[in-house]
Structure formats: C-alpha cells, structure tokens
Subunit: 275 residues, 2 copies
C-alpha cells in the first residue's frame, strides 16, 4: 500500500506501527476477549493502559516529579477557555497567528486578558525576537503564547522568559522536538498532530497550578483542572481508545530512541584555541 | 474467540460487525491510503463520514426537519453544565438517581436550578408515576430528567409531560429502544453505552433551542450549542474516529431492521368481543 501523508488541517499522519498494532487488537485486545473500545474505564485493564500512556509520556519529557499529565477532551479550543477560567482572568497574550488570536478571543469571553504583543498589522510574519523584553503586567496570572503558527508558518525557536506562569499551546508541534517542561506552568496540545488521534487533549502542567483552582465559582466542575488532576483523568469516562492510541505513539517515539534533552538549538562550535 | 460482554461502568459491548469493519479499515480506510484516524476533518472523505453518521441516526430516529444532531465531546458530565449554560439558569430537575443528582449539582455550579421531585430519602427506588403531575415552576427554562438510572436500576417507561422544553439524559439507554423525539427539546447521551465509543457525545435537539443561545455572556464559545449547530459539528476538530465508529453502529442497527415507531409499550390486547 502506498501511504498518504496528510498535511491539511486537523488530524495528521500516525506511525504505521501504531496503526497496525491498534488494528490487530481492535476486535480482541491482547486476547482479553473484548476490544479496548468496549472496556470499562474503571477496569484494571484500562487503568493499566492509562498508566502506561502517562508514564511513557512522562519518560519522553523527562517530567519532573512536581508536574502531572492529564488526558482531557475538547481540543485546544476548549483549553482557550479553560486556561483563563482556571488560572485567572487577566492573562497576558502574545498573538502570533490564527490560533493565538482565537485563544485571546476566548479569554475575552470568560475574562479580561491583555494582549501584550502582536504582529497582526504585518500579517503575522514574525514572532518576538528572543532579545525583546515582553511587557507582562505585574500581577498577570500567566503569559500565554502559541509555540508554532500553522497557516502563517512561524515558530518560536526559544522559550520566552516570564516572571509569571508560562502557558503554551503546543498543539501543532508537541512531540515534534524535545521540550524542557521546567520553564512552563502549563502546556496543552490537541493530540491529533503528532501524539495520537483527535478527541484527546494532552495537558502537562505544574501540579501546584493544576491542583489549585483560582477561577470564579461558576466554572463548571468538568472545566476545572483540579477535577481531572485529583481523579487522575478518570473524573468521567475518558476517550479510552484515543488514550490507547496515544500510548502506542509514545511507545513508537521511545522505540526510535526518544529525545536528547533540551537544548536542541545548534550547539556552540568549539572555540578555536588561541593559545 | 469467545466474546466478553462488559456490563460495568462506562464503555460497553459494541456490535462485532462494527468492530470488524473498523479493524479492517484502520490502517487503510477503504483503499484511500490512510487511516480514518489520519484524515483531515476538513476533507471530503471525512465530511462524507460525518454526513452519513448524521443521516443514518436521523433515519433511525425518524427525525423531524426541525431537529438537528450534534456530535460533541466531554460526555454527559459536560452536558450537565452545557444545558443550564445554554437554556437558562432556573431549570426544573427530577432526581431519580446518581446521574440526575450529578446533573443537578452541576446546574447549581453554573446557575440556580430547582429540584421538583426526588426519591432520595427512599434510596431512589422509583421514578415518578405517569399519573403524577410534576410541579414545574412557571417560567422554568426546561425540565430535566434521566431516562434510565444505572446503579439504582429504575427507568422511565413513559415520557413526562411538560409545558416547558423537556431535556433528557439518555446516556445509558439511548438507541436501546425506539424514541419519538418530538416531545423533547433536547436529548443528550454519551455514546459509549449503545451508540459508539467513549469520547463522542450525541445531542439531538430542536433547532430553535440549539441555535438560539440564551445563557450569560461568559459562557465559552465551545460550550454553546449554537457554535456547533452553525458549524455542523465542525467548529473545531471533532473526535473523527469515534464518529466513524458511531456511523458503523448506526449502520448495524439499521441492518437489523431499525425500529418500529413509538410507542413500544406492550400493545393493548385485542379486546374480547362482547357482541
């Protein structure tokens, strides 16, 4: 079979090994007599799949002990609302393209964000230079940016410095390059570009942020990170098959050798000796 | 293979024919050279899958033209919040078990619902009798109930009468028996019991309700029914594989002959002739 590669909007190409394993197990999962699609999310078998997905991703990310991984639903579009609903209303936004504009627009629905940098007038041709100081208001609950801008084709090749929690939408480049999560308060990504199928949203965040709800009392229980952090992504029925497929993709990445640790910028050349 | 039937919490047994077709197509969907998991949700191929899912379900339900079907994410737990956020704060709730209690609790987070009937003191041993008049407050935006109560084992065998829009959580018995949707303003169901995999939430509702947002301005765009109704469930990346699997389950139900139209209560016995 000639495999097609899809570079369009939404779901993208998955590793063949992951698809083949999922297909082989779809009717009878590992000889258990039922599909992963039919397993109770409260069963030991599914709990093992969820734990394996989480541990493998944590290993790939060299995740520090004070970080947690959540598997949620609703895509980045739901995260656009959840971030300000949980972390606080007046977040600082860097808008570098369509997705960060959508994140800002949604933050305006649920709160009062501040746009601190945009290149909209120049049709989003660039992202802030690493040397540029971003004017984050004192007391802003977070700084939000989009690591990679589909449509406009720009990408951050550095991690912005911030004295407030750094929040990144990595939907389109999550797992495409090594990440050091430690500068980030919270990272979110729809799984469908590099990590799995659509319908799974991966959130990686500092436990102190995920577990301490700081939003208004009208925020639905299901939109609170603490709900999912305390229930280990089993507050309600999760997208079980999607999480299984993510675990197969994580296995595949690990089988390729995983990643070297950050930084991945070209290493400085050894200086010619002058002595 | 001996197939196991799972009657536990969450995802449940699926038709073998649906699983086998999904497995056969998982690596190479209908000879297209890619998996349905890898298709853009903006592609013609996926649009055809979505349209087929919607049309088949509409056919099974004999859906009137003024009703629409949405495929969402987040399960019934997210609907517990979306219903009052969209239809209005002061809904009337009939609590007949664990799930309707959860729906009521969530309605209290986002608004001011009224519990008009409960059997909690008697450990949810019954549902209201059909002859019982439910005291729905004048001006209540809707009446909410749960058609089937897992854990407690009770089920409504009639549709309550209401002068306000009737909203039903059918998560555990949707597609297990014929439904006449016409008495309902809105029906929602997590797909994972009878209609497909977890990660897909089916909403069937009157267009006038789905398309006219009546909630407060802080309701996130993604939690508004009108957002999804206007975009035909393609506002953001939907759970594409889950919708495909639902379409296979709908096909299977249709292949069994679909349903006779409501009512399904035992037909009255022919009266013995007295002449």
């Amino acid at each position: 079979m000639s495999r097609k590669h899809n570079f369009n909007a939404g779901p993208s190409t998955l590793p063949l090994a992951a698809l083949e394993k999922a297909a082989a197990n779809l009717v009878d999962h590992e000889g258990l007599g039922l599909s992963v699609l039919e397993m109770s999310h409260r069963s030991k078998d599914f709990e093992a799949i969820l734990a394996h997905a989480k541990e493998t991703l944590a290993g790939l990310l060299s995740l520090p002990a004070d970080y947690d991984v959540l598997f949620l639903q609703g895509g980045a579009s739901q995260q656009f609302a959840m971030v300000p609903m949980n972390l606080g209303s007046g977040g600082a936004y860097v808008t570098t393209g369509a997705w960060s504009q959508k994140a800002l627009a949604e933050a305006k629905v649920v709160g009062e964000p501040v746009e601190i940098w945009t290149d909209k007038a120049d049709n989003f041709r660039k992202v802030p230079a690493e040397s540029e100081a971003l004017a984050v208001p004192a007391g802003a609950p977070f700084l939000h940016y989009t690591t990679n801008n589909t449509i406009f084709g720009t990408q951050f090749h550095y991690v912005p410095k911030a004295s407030v929690p750094l929040v990144a939408d990595m939907s389109s480049d999550f797992l495409s390059r090594p990440i050091d999560v430690r500068p980030f308060g919270l990272i979110y990504a729809g799984a469908q570009k590099n990590a799995g199928p659509s319908g799974v949203t991966i959130v990686v965040g500092r436990k102190s942020i995920l577990e301490s709800f700081a939003g208004p009392k009208w925020v639905p229980t299901i939109l609170r990170y603490e709900t999912h952090a305390k229930a280990d992504s089993l507050y309600n029925t999760p997208p079980t098959f999607g999480i299984y497929l993510c675990s197969l993709v994580f296995d595949w990445i690990r089988a390729q050798g995983g990643w070297r640790r950050w930084p991945v910028a070209p290493r400085p050349r050894p200086r010619a000796s002058t002595t």
